[in-house]
């Protein structure tokens, strides 16, 4: 019996050891595959060494990982970094678009001392401190998509013109409704900076152009399911809603609610793109969507990094705004629109 127990313990120890080795191997494999999936020509080892050898490293921290918008932005960065022969990798939170989720990732990325950090801050004020810490360690920072209130020390900011995006949506709605009707604006939280600009651009254009359009109370919906529920409630309470403008990338939920609603169906205008949104556009279930051209944001940001690296910092504009485009159900299949759609 005693021998048997000892034998069991030996087997257990062997299993733990084997597990540790397997974990190390898995981590190696995962990090290698992550490296090869980016445009990085080197391994995922600390970039400080590669920087010292003269090959800059660009790291990108999105607001949240793996959504079509940030994937397309990342592809733009990767494309330009590859053209320059630079190393590139990206890391983002898989759980939430929040300061608390993004802060440790920024710190972890910066502990590897990339040459350039490209980041979409999740809050214009609270993210200043971790970014400041990163800059104090010698990392040069460029803001993409979203920005900070205090941009001192930042090389450049590259973002989409969100006010113009709202105005493009407003012009489309005014034309489709013939200049009068009731409109509902749905927005999310806490992405205040960009979404507030879209909402203000939308409402401001329709108000300033003396259209006969009136607005319902804004709706805050942070998820597809909540947006679906809120849209259903809106349609029940106000059956004559002419159009719904959602300032977030939440589009399937409102579309589903509209399709399920009997009778009059309002025009739905969304923001951003995904394969599902493209399909809804092709089916005519979504009237239009505003695309931000994130690929251009990524390419532009790396061009500025290259200017900084090659000593041409004086030519870098402090702030660059990329122009959005509006894609409608009737133009979604045009060759021009295909170029603007996000990566799946």
């Amino acid at each position: 019996m005693a021998v048997s127990r000892q034998g069991q313990r030996t087997v257990q120890k062997a299993m733990v050891l084997a597990g540790a080795v397997a974990l190390a191997a898995a981590i190696n494999a995962c990090s290698s595959s992550a490296s090869s999936s980016s445009s990085s020509p080197s391994s995922s080892s600390d970039s400080a060494a590669s920087s010292a050898k003269g090959v800059p490293t660009v790291a990108f921290v999105p607001g949240i990982a793996k959504i079509p918008f940030y994937d397309t932005l990342s592809a733009g960065i990767a494309q330009e970094a590859k053209a320059l022969g630079w190393n590139y990798y990206t890391q983002g939170s898989s759980s939430a678009f929040s300061v608390s989720a993004q802060t440790p990732i920024v710190a972890a990325v910066c502990s590897k001392h990339p040459t350039f950090l490209l980041i979409a801050p999740t809050d214009p004020n609270a993210m200043r401190s971790p970014i400041q810490q990163c800059m104090s360690e010698g990392v040069k920072v460029i803001l993409v998509d979203t920005t900070l209130t205090d941009t001192s020390g930042i090389i450049a900011t590259v973002s989409s013109n969100n006010t113009l995006g709202g105005q493009l949506a407003a012009q489309y709605v005014a034309k489709e409704l013939g200049g009068h009707g009731v409109v509902s604006v749905q927005t999310g939280s806490p992405e205040a900076e960009t979404q507030a600009a879209r909402r203000e651009g939308f409402v401001g254009w329709l108000t300033s152009h003396d259209t006969g359009i009136t607005f319902l109370q804004p709706i805050y919906a942070g998820s597809e399911s909540q947006a679906e529920t809120d849209t259903s409630a809106t349609l029940t309470a106000t059956p004559n809603v002419g159009a719904i403008f959602n300032t977030t990338s939440t589009c399937q939920g409102p579309s589903q609610a509209i399709q399920s609603h009997g009778g009059h169906k309002p025009i739905l205008v969304c923001y951003d793109d995904s394969p599902a949104v493209t399909t809804l556009l092709e089916q005519g279930k979504v009237g239009a969507t505003v695309l931000q051209d994130p690929r251009a944001e990524g390419v532009t940001a790396v061009k500025y990094a290259d200017d900084e690296w090659t000593g041409k910092s004086s030519v870098i504009p402090k702030s660059t705004v990329v122009t959005p485009v509006l894609i409608t159900a009737s133009t979604v299949n045009s060759p021009v629109a295909k170029q603007d759609l996000y990566l799946p």
Partner: protein, 373 residues
């Protein structure tokens, strides 16, 4: 009152056959009957091997740290140490309080919402009571904000506890309700936006590193964890918590004031969430109303990785801290190694399930060993 407590102790001590308590299950907690009923020799002082078997997750943490350290020299840098400890802060505080609750047979799903609410409340008090970033008395604004936020956290815990013990509703349902209420109130107070107009003292406190290596909020969290660990191991309150979780009926028959005790643990949980909220808010200089539900799930996962049984009666504050550190080290280590984000979730999930499996096998073996003499 003191006499009543003494009678309770005597009642528990006089029980001829005590229910299987923490000590018998190997968690190092002394049974209330220990004074009168000497335990078999092998239970008096656990052998070194038994201690190691009981705390095997420390080995897992050490292996993870070793692997990440070997893979990247950045992992052992000062900045990474600060990052790991600051990131583990909120999960650890929530997890240790959640562990006390789980041991007693309860659970608190409102913790992450209370965390968000307390951060917003502290910012709200500083802004509307003292003028925010331009406050004339910034230190007073900071202290008042902290005090109100932690007090409200304790109050939410009190509401949770009182509703649960008086209504006999499932704590899962009650705390789910307060999760929604607290989220709503936090959004109402903040207008749904992050509150960042704060006196500089908030960020000064939250980002002060003693000797360059010990962040002040982390020190506060460590003190909280140590106090709770001592209370659970060395005090009557801690022993009763195990007894109630192990067998509520036995605790009632033994004369314990179970309801009052449970309310106290829910107050502890709410206070901990309030404390975590203000510490996190001061570190990030951001009162964020949207609760990050993953923090709650990580806290429960840390307790379970640390050996807490969701059926109550079993768990350890120290091992929960290690569980929280494992989750944090995995998150940050995998970022440093540039592993794709979603693999981080997979890794935590695998560790959680494997930890519970190994733990259950250990418990089963321990029970069989006891039964076979």
């Amino acid at each position: 009152m003191a006499g009543k407590v003494r009678r309770t102790d005597q009642a528990m001590a006089g029980r001829p056959v005590a229910p299987a308590t923490g000590a018998e299950r190997g968690n190092g907690i002394a049974d209330a009957s220990k004074a009168d009923l000497p335990l078999p020799r092998r239970f008096r002082r656990p052998a070194a091997g038994a201690v190691l078997r009981e705390n095997w997750i420390i080995v897992i943490l050490a292996v993870l740290v070793m692997i990440f350290g070997l893979e990247s020299s950045s992992f052992f840098s000062q900045s990474n140490w600060l990052n790991v400890t600051n990131t583990a802060l909120d999960v650890t505080i929530l997890a240790v309080a959640q562990t006390a609750l789980i041991i007693s047979g309860g659970i608190d799903l409102s913790q992450s919402a209370v965390l968000g609410l307390s951060g917003v409340l502290a910012a709200w008090v500083a802004l509307h009571g003292f003028g925010g970033a331009t406050a004339a008395h910034p230190l007073l604004a900071t202290v008042a904000g902290f005090a109100v936020a932690i007090a409200v956290g304790a109050f939410v815990g009190l509401v949770n506890g009182v509703v649960i013990v008086t209504s006999k509703l499932n704590p899962f349902i009650v705390t789910l309700g307060t999760l929604e209420v607290c989220t709503g109130i936090a959004n109402l107070l903040s207008g749904g936006q992050d509150m960042t107009s704060l006196p500089s003292q908030f960020a000064s406190f939250g980002n002060l590193d003693l000797f360059g290596w010990i962040p002040l909020p982390v020190l506060a969290a460590a003190v909280f964890c140590i106090l709770l660990a001592v209370a659970m191991k060395k005090t009557r309150w801690g022993r009763y918590t195990y007894v109630i979780g192990d067998s509520r009926d036995a605790a009632l028959r033994g004369g314990l004031r179970v309801d009052r005790h449970m309310v106290g643990i829910y107050v502890l949980s709410g206070t901990a969430a309030g404390l975590a909220g203000v510490l996190l808010m001061s570190h990030l200089a951001d009162g964020a109303p949207q609760p990050d539900v993953s923090v709650l799930l990580d806290a429960i996962a840390a307790a379970v990785i640390g050996g807490a049984s969701l059926s109550g009666g079993r768990g350890s504050i120290g091992r929960t801290v290690v569980g929280a550190l494992i989750i944090t080290v995995l998150l940050i280590g995998l970022v440093i190694l540039n592993v794709q984000a979603f693999w981080q979730d997979v890794a935590v999930g695998v560790v959680l399930v494997v930890a519970v499996l190994i733990d259950q096998r250990g418990q089963l073996r321990s029970k069989l060993g006891t039964a076979l003499g």
